[in-house]
Subunit: 372 residues, 2 copies
């Protein structure tokens, strides 16, 4: 039974909603759950539920707030996120799930676990609702500036995820671009497209923003800047459209009655459109399983994120990724990169400006040394 560490302190409504979600997961998913967080706070919350005895609690004295910068989070030695990853590093758990600060999850995940040796940069993988089984977007925001081989690796990782976790046979992989015709795209997408044409993937070429939803493609590859824009635009449209529809239903007696008659079907439709409910965005490429849930997750979304963690463990996802990328060596770039130099310099100057060249700083030095 996979052992999964849950960051009890992460998310907009932690720890209550997180624990509700963990209880759902424990009931249905066949996983062993370990809650990580401030022990007294977590115990107090757990005591409200009868299922309390099911969970081990591991104490972590510090919290990473939602908008704390990753460089500050990296210096906290006893945060719930860091303690979770350290347990995974020691083999005490198989996966870490958090609805907390995603930048800190990424930074601490890389810091404690590192990446698979075949992967230059891990990415955030998100599954959004579509006409099919959902569409994988990778990178959804981790890497702003990418090289072609980064996107080639994202393509392989996304395809493995679609195949192994979403159960899509021969997933269709496309590069997100501003048009499908030849001659479209920018320098990055053209280079990636050329390499992917030679890869052992079901590569279908360029896809556009609208193809994310129409069932034409299973895995959409892009840099993290573009992926973030697409994802946030999606959220924005959905939220604006649902407000406008709500106003429409409140408009007059007839529309209010219409709402009463159709609300059950509509609620189901809304759930189908709510990508947060699809649960868990994996930090794909990490040497371990780390899953980010949306900060505003419902208990069901937390449960779905835990399901994503369980499936990644049970399907041995990382071994498949490592195998696929080893087989594609050369094509996907054969050298591991360190932290991008600029990011590193920013980390370093921030850490030093805090007046301590301490253990954390020494560790980042070590990290950098192993990278570049």
């Amino acid at each position: 039974m996979p052992k999964i560490a849950i960051d009890a302190m992460g998310g907009d409504h932690a720890p209550a909603i997180v624990i509700d979600g963990a209880l759902l997961a424990a009931q249905d998913l066949g996983v062993e759950i370990i809650l990580v967080g401030q022990k007294n706070v977590v115990e107090q919350e757990l005591n409200k539920h009868r299922g309390a005895s099911k969970f081990d609690i591991i104490d972590a004295s510090q919290i990473v707030p939602m908008h704390e910068s990753p460089s500050v989070a990296l210096r906290k030695k006893d945060s719930s996120i860091k303690v979770g990853f350290e347990m995974m590093k020691r083999g005490q758990v198989d996966a870490v799930v958090s609805a907390g600060n995603s930048g800190a999850m990424m930074a601490l995940g890389m810091f404690v676990m590192g990446t698979l040796s075949q992967v230059a940069r891990p990415a955030i993988l998100v599954v959004v609702p579509s006409r099919g089984k959902g569409t994988v977007i990778v990178d959804a925001g981790a890497n702003v500036d990418c090289k072609p081989h980064n996107l080639v690796q994202f393509a392989f990782m996304g395809a493995i995820y679609a195949e192994r976790i979403l159960d899509v046979a021969k997933p269709r992989v496309g590069v997100l671009s501003n048009g499908e015709e030849e001659g479209k795209g920018n320098e990055l997408t053209r280079a990636v497209s050329e390499r992917l044409s030679a890869a052992s993937l079901n590569f279908i070429g360029y896809v556009e923003g609208r193809d994310i939803f129409n069932g034409k493609v299973d895995v959409v590859v892009c840099d993290g800047f573009t992926g973030n824009i697409a994802l946030k635009t999606m959220e924005g449209v959905a939220s604006f459209a649902s407000e406008v529809l709500k106003e429409a239903f409140q408009k007059n007696l007839s529309s209010r009655m219409g709402y009463l008659f159709s609300r059950n079907s509509l609620a189901e439709a809304y759930r189908r459109l709510d990508y947060a409910e699809y649960g868990g965005a994996p930090l794909i490429g990490l040497d371990g399983v780390g899953i980010i849930a949306h900060g505003g997750s419902s208990p069901l979304a937390i449960k779905n994120a835990i399901r994503a963690a369980r499936d990644a463990v049970n399907q041995d996802m990382n071994r498949h990724i490592a195998d696929a990328l080893s087989a594609a060596d050369g094509l996907a770039g054969d050298k591991k990169e360190g932290l991008p130099r600029k990011l590193w310099q920013r980390f370093k100057s921030k850490i030093e400006s805090l007046g301590e060249k301490d253990e954390a700083s020494a560790e980042t030095d070590r990290l950098r040394g192993s990278g570049e």
Copy 2:
């Protein structure tokens, strides 16, 4: 009364829908309309309507299909788009409107009219529905690779458009990025943000994809690659969501009744969300007024595109843009650029591969000479 040339042959349902839209516009907007296209086809269509006598028809023997490459369209000497722009060049009309091939509109607009002398590259400006009066996105797809001064010019042009055409006082200008915090963004957005901080604009910094809709910002600035991704993603979500809702309403007797009661209010909501109805995307920065309507435009959308053309003429938009950019000289880059070298090389090789070093090619040579 502004004189507006309408490309009667452009759009998915031309000429019928275009002429319906032109008739609406002639009724309500106080404009003089000239239809450009294959005279016999246009006359035949016009004869179906009683308002036929209102319009002059200018014959243009060639059509630019929706997906023809701009370099091919550039070689057609008598296309409805080209003839429209040539009439504007000669001062016979004040604006050109087309629901046809947008790449060809851009290419022929630049070819025949050129840009304002203060503008390095024209952009496609789109207004999307939002909590406010609509949000301006510029560039929505014309320029894939941009330099910082391009985006600075887009910011000024977008602000003038919001102020003069949408009647927004002190429009808030933001740069589209992957997060609002400092340290987010890519090389381009950081450089642009720095310059705009020093500009005489109401610059509010970085905005995210979701802010396009929530009324936080009036003008969103980005390169054309990013803008296209945001816009197409928007279209994709909207179309997917409306399909899912449609299915929800058809689900059972209760939901079907609900639809009957609420359909009027819903239809109004859908219209509010349909950005195509917002009409016309100006080719902003052109030395003239060129408006692109969505290929699938309804007659109402065509009318709205004609309204955008009329307003740009009546408000003397280009003079305001020229003044603002002249005043901001240095900040927005003070040199005009030619066609980007790569684009030029692609044009040239395509034109030459057609086996004729002809007039069109000579003209592009001239165009290039004047640019670089």
